[in-house]
Amino acid sequence: MSEDKIGAVLVVGAGIAGMQSALDLADSGFKVYLLTEYPSIGGYMAKLDKTFPTNDCAMCIISPKLVDVAGHPNIELLTNCDLLELSGEPGSFKARIRKRTRYVDEEKCTGCGSCISVCPVEILDGFNENLRGTKNIFIPFPQAVPLKATRRKETCMGCGLCKVVCESGAIDFNLTDSEITIDIGSVVLAPGYKTFDPELMKEYRYDHPDVLRSIEFERFLAPTGPTGGHVIKPSTGEEPKSIAWIQCVGSRNERLDRGYCSSVCCTYAIKEAVIAKEHVPDLSCTIFYMDMRTFGKGFEEYYNRAKDEYGIEFIRCRVPSVKVRTDGGLFIRYENEEGEIEEREFDVVVLSVGFQPPDGNRELARILGIDLNKFGFCETGEFTPLETGREGIYVCGAFVEPKDIPETVAQGSGASAKASALISTSRHTQVTEREFPPERDVSGELPRIGVFVCHCGINIASVVDVLAVVEYAKTLPGVVYAENDLYACSQDNQKHIQEVIKEYNLNRVIVASCSPRTHEPLFRNTCREAGLNPYLFEMANIRDQCSWVHMHEPEKATEKAKDLVRMAVAKANMLQPLKTIPIEMNHECMVIGGGIAGMTAASEMTRQGYRVYLIEKEAELGGNLRSIRYSLSGEDPQELLRRMIEEVETNPMIEVMKSTTIDSIEGYIGNFKVNLSRNGEKREIGCGVIIVATGAEEYKPKEYLYGEDERIVTQHEFEELMDEGKLDLSGKTVVMIQCVGSREEERTYCSRVCCATAIKNSIVIKENYPDADVYILYRDIRAYGFKEEYYRRARDLGVIFIRYEKDEKPEVTKDGDLLKVGVVDQLLKEKFIIEPDLLVLSAATIPAADNPRISELLKLPLTEHGFFLEAHAKLRPVDFATDGVFLCGLAHSPKLIGETVSQACAAVSRACTVLSRPFIESEGTIAKVNELICSGCGVCVAACPYEVPELVVNERGALVARINEAKCKGCGVCGCGCPSSAITMNHFMDMQIMAQIDAFGAT
């Protein structure tokens, strides 16, 4: 191990996993090189239309991340690059990288798109899955990062038109590939996946124009896709009347050496069907499946809504082939659940293609000296999903195992924690803090407003008359300068805006372009660079609100753009500089819960160099892991338990507090005060961040005679009995019943772990007692990812799986001393009677009983089921909406050990983005109380969702509300509610808003 560790990390792959890893690392004091072979970052997520289970627009939620990466001072983008060699040792590697030329000078290219518009050569558009053409010199998609053109040499006819029109002289056909070598301390692998090529299954007739891969269908749904979001039957261009989805195309298939489940296809097919139906209300949508694997958080409810509210039809049969009639129409023949063979015609058939390792996986493994599993994914351990087996190289996302976006994001963060732990002593050594010039005092100056109206390439200018808006802006009060910009946000334009600010002595800046959600931080920083307070910036969104929504009414769109600019100018006239204040912070962490999630988080946190208080309410550490005695892969969970307990108990940077309960938590990010009790003894501790790892519990069934006979046990109880040698199952019969207490009206969610657990335990039984009979009664086998392999193994060992229906549950009775289980086999429609010697119930995973209290103490929301609710289901899976508090493990939702470890590392990574700062900076846009007017009524106290305002008696003896500047989120609820108008919102003051409204009315 190198002594001088390098505080920089190479992230290979720039999809959502790589981006998340890069952002976390860069935000916690490390330099990041983000490498991708593609011309833009974004990966598959950028291609998706919507995301399940919230139906958020994928581009809308990934776009801010793209912008964050693009603008981050500590992330260096290496797009269009290949990793050639890695040498050195953990902590001090050298990576040799080939930069493939774009034939476009990235420094000079502004991404204006002129070259694209004149290029006469059309090639297939890979971003749109080749469903339409793009030009030979292209930008993959409008939000691409970096927004730079790339020329394909192979297909270029060399006419040079692009060079002629490029005003910045960026295009140079003589540019060549180059090599660089970078010094890094560790590596994160996030190369993602590739979708299955249905050419390998000719029986699905992918050669037919109306048979689509799911990712192609996704592009048809997307507004930026080949049909602008119009769902069509490709052969005719007409709207389809019926669409079928065929699941498991290239998944769960031993014949094609893809014996794993791709984990996401069930839920994405549901999403595509639901969205398609929203596009075409009369559309008939049918999903052919084997087992419906909606095991993620909120997925089962999504499935139920698809059935009950959207009328999506689900047919349980694997479709063997797609057939084509002589007239070209498509039909499918299948055996229905009554055993009848049916034939159905469909206008479009969507193949739900599975995941496979990315191209170049073997080369990557060779370069890095890591192992791949038999399918070509990265080999990792069941309990160490982020580790490649080679120190200093960590892995995340779909390259580990097929997975959905939230788990990918969590692993992206988790791998960041692993990669930075190794080099934590070199934190802040390779980064450049952005320094801004001192702020100019603008007080007493009359407003001097500059307006920059953006073309956004053709995004705005093809609809809105940008020049007319500029001319109009010049006539508005306070405006001393106005201009049009091709891309207001391009890097070179930032320098230009700064020069204009200085030249015209501007003291207010307006950019009329896109959404402040994505671009306000960028322009605010530009103002700061020019010495202006960032709150002297205002934005008008003339893209989303004008050119996009009124694309067919250019004149009205232009008028509306003028209205928006006029309103922005009215507000800008009233803008005031705001101060943010640095607040001292505590750099210690409190972890609540001493199960595997909490212990992993605590241990990882100390590897980052931060001290931890680990709070456990029980007398012993370990949580649910204490009951888990077996694993699928044969690793020993109890060895893990012993190792983790020893690690946290002997770690000098962790103070373990067992039998300890939390009485109160006060404070805010950076400064929490926690009151604890331990056997009646009180204590107060302080910390800067909190990780909630409070776990969950195994449901104690009320069903199936549980508690009435000692031969009826739960899976946890089974593992303990088996492990402690209390069971002799030789020649015995064991029945396991799945979904006990899950997927029911009162508990609609899937408990996720029970299928893998039952499979695992059935294998344990068969391996120890080959002559035992094991029956697993299930509703859907949800052996997602590589767990499918173990499902197969269990069957090979002779475990019998019998499917039952929710409305026709197994019956457990006692006949004298005999236990009897009756179950109706859904295939044969025959009733089986089994006489088990042991009945094992796969009981639900239910939220910890303590969750309501913890949620109360920390003001954190719970889901309808009582698990903790993260900040965003997709992209912030381990964050809370409350800053400084993070989440991992079963407290979030049911999950397996490896998934818990990933999330615990993720929570640490997220927490380090806070702890690595020297101090906390307060927001400028916060509420202020005028104590002279405040009547102390307490409306604000009741209204604030973050419980910030407090009623206090001030120096004058009056009862007034007081707002903690560090805690206030600036949401404005208190200001709206205040009956005496004593609360004003900085940056959204009444006079500012009224001026905007007045300006709207004026013409």
Binding site: R255, G798, I833
Partner: protein
């Protein structure tokens, strides 16, 4: 609805199927691929998935005496399509072998087997056809094993050595089937 006590199921059936060539019977996860594309299934109530299911469960009394397993044309479509590579056609053939040993060979198959044993060909030569062939200038008998006494003797040797005679209950003395 039929009620089946699984304790009475024939635990040995999956193993016997395996021994007779249906090596991956237990791999089946009941997806329905085999039934859906089965050319026989479109015309008759013949469902390979059910046969696989019953065999795996050890429901010998339902599977072995039933005609189903003899309906398969061994077209191998299911074999080619099965995503678990459970080789359903091999399972069917294995089940026939097991069923035959338990005396469940259908009469038609016994007759065919007897014909092969006796004449070296499944379809015995008919005098009328021989005349027609000669009229057309062809040899009276087609050039199959039936035409060559030495080949017939070899076939009979196989039938004896492989225990086929016992399975179809063929009486060598009378050179015909018994019962």
């Amino acid at each position: 609805m039929e009620v089946i006590e699984l304790k009475n199921a024939d635990r040995t059936l999956p193993q016997r199927v395996k021994e007779f060539g249906g090596i991956d019977l237990l791999a089946c996860y009941q997806c329905g691929t085999c039934s859906s594309d089965c050319p026989v299934g479109t015309e008759f109530f013949f469902r390979i998935r059910r046969i696989m299911r019953k065999a795996a469960l050890g429901l010998s009394e339902q599977v072995l005496p039933a005609k189903d397993i003899w309906c398969c044309t061994t077209c191998f479509t299911c074999f080619d399509r099965c995503p678990q590579d459970a080789k359903p056609t091999d399972v069917i053939l294995a089940l026939r072998r097991v069923a035959a040993r338990e005396g469940y060979t259908p009469q038609a198959s016994r007759n065919t087997s007897a014909n092969i044993t006796k004449f070296g060909h499944a379809v015995p030569s008919l005098e009328e056809i021989e005349k027609k062939r000669e009229a057309m200038g062809l040899p009276a008998r087609p050039p199959t094993a039936a035409t060559y006494p030495e080949a017939i003797r070899e076939i009979q040797l196989i039938v004896k050595k492989r225990g086929i005679a016992e399975i179809i209950r063929f009486n060598w003395e009378k050179m015909e089937l018994e019962g």
